[in-house]
Amino acid sequence: MASLLVRGGRFVDPSQNIDRVASLLLREGVVVAIDPPDVHADEVIDATGMIVSPGLVDMHVHLREPGREEDETIETGTAAAIVGGFTSIACIPNTEPPIDTQGAVEFIHQKAVRADHCNVFVVGCVSRNREGKELAEIGQLVEAGAVAFSDDGAPVYDAELMRRAFEYCLMFDKPILAHEEVLELSRGGVMHEGLVSLVLGLTGMPAAAEEVLIGRDAALAEVTGGRLHVMHVSTAGGVALVRAAKARGVRITAEACPHHFTLTDECMWGFDSNFKMSPPLRTAVDVEGVIEGIVDGTIDCIATDHAPHAREKKMLELDRAPFGILGLETALGLSVTRLVATGRIGWPRLIEAMSVLPSRILGINRGTLRIGSIADITIIDPIQRWQVDVGTFKSKSVNSPFDRWTLEGRAVATIVGGRIKHRLL
């Protein structure tokens, strides 16, 4: 395989505490040298003025295949990922059928290899058929390559089953990715319960519906010593619960989604179903709470919860339209715009949250550009302003409320295993 030199960029790799201008030499899909003295490479990318980062990792993506190929496929979802700067994604198993067998895991891997865009890591079901009744064959799934376990889309509702899942996963050292929602409290809900839902007469999903289950699962992780990863934390109270659990030594990590630190329930005034997702958009206080969590590290990482839905499904009455929002192609721009450009966090923290820590949580050999590691690299123009146009999205769906937004920061090259998969430079 050819060699590739990425020259002159600001190399930010928090896994090695590096933040300086440096050149990277890649050969055979591996990082072979940092600042090589006397370079000859087959291809050179001049990254002057750019950020050169370990490839971004999105640990929360709904690829929809198998079963709902009208919304997204492994091919289109991974194509969207590389445009968004992601070299690796983890796909959530709420497909039809759910990913709860070795065969299903292998199917995803094969499709991803055939699509040949980015790496796809598979999250397996916690419970058989995602029914929340008995454990899926977690050991078998681990053997097939599953990196974590989740019944996302729904919580693991039976507290005893959740406890067993934490205990059982101990022997594989795999985390449980938890969707936290007390269903009785959010039943029929389409948005956050607050002043806006009160005025609009829409059924609300109270913050307590999320927080009560975060509290339960933190307690279960504590008694079992299991690993809990809280997905899409959306409330200030949820962030506080994670912070408190971390302080007392619970093995807990958490993610936040760009829409939850960008938008509020005020977006629902126009009844647009593109703003309908679960957990819902919360209040300005919650947005600030989530950002503070990212700043102080309570929230370890940023994940998209990329949830495509075909246009006709979203064009229904609000209570019939499905929950979900696209994320892959806007996550980096939103994160830079909301967090870095505003001075809330620096580039090292952003890259930690979008590459280093999700890799560490999933236990995958990514999120670092140490010599000898796999050459997954994202090159980011930190100040490029660009306009979102859902018409150009690689995703099969268009359910993004960010259409026509101007964002700052963009992936200008995505390199997967030493091969350039996306390039605007």
């Binding site: 007469g201 829409l202 009844f271 009455e317």
Partner: protein
Amino acid sequence: MSSSLPQQKVVPSAWTHRHLLDLKRLTSDEIKLLLDTTAMFKEATDGCRRKLSVLSGATIANLFFESSTRTRTSFSLAARRLGADVVDFSAVGSSLSKGESFIDTAKNIEAMGIDAVVVRHQTPGTPHLLSQHLNVGVINAGDGPHEHPTQGLLDIFSIRERLGDLKGITVAMVGDIAHSRTARSNFWGLTKLGAKVIFCGPPTLVSPRWAELGAEVSHDLDAILPRCDCLNLLRIQFERQSTRPFPSVREYAHLYAMNKQRLAGAKKDLLILAPGPINRGVEVTADVADCPQSLILNQVTNGIAVRMAVLWLTCGPRSHSSGKTL
């Protein structure tokens, strides 16, 4: 049949809306214009009994995704009193039960050449969604617990007819505020016209957060009753509640039903409204529902006048755009 209106012959230029989706975003002047137009139609039709021809040639479609007898009948009568044709579509038995989306259904009806759609739906925001997809006027006839602007207007019109100015009066809305579109439309309309609104009922049905929007929140009907000029008794909407918000109907009636004893503690000229249908014995006892201060039947008549005004303003010839006169 009278072919013209006594005073105004054109839609006033102060009315700029193509749709009537809610009262929240109307100005007080726009609400007053709607009420004045209602008064004009009530007079011109001799109390909604005579027929005009100001909308002859127009076709109004009633698109009801949720069952309704009185609102649909009221809209139909209003349209016919203006000389318009009316077509009724109900969700049951139409293509909707065959899986067609409601937007496709509405577009099909639009393609049949209609001038306005009157829509009722169980989901808040559905009329707003339709207004973005159709090129005809959309009138909200009730969208879930969100708003029911013509009901709000007819309640306010009925009060104004008795009391004149609304500024400074106190109107209590009692009962199931949480699920009531009537409560929300009344709240915005009354507040904009300077009235004070009290929401009264158990905390499971009256959010304390209404206070942040300017309403007074009370859980004690007897305590607020002496201050009220008007009571609007809302129906308990058992069908919209997922869990029962109070232990029993008996207990609810004990705390909140308007009966003769309670009436004794109120102002002598207290007005009583109910948007209907009413559960006699739950929100209001029969003797109170039929007492002289009850406006319940006036409301029904005024409903037709309000809907005439709304239909005329939203699909009548526009002085400011076409320059046509009636």
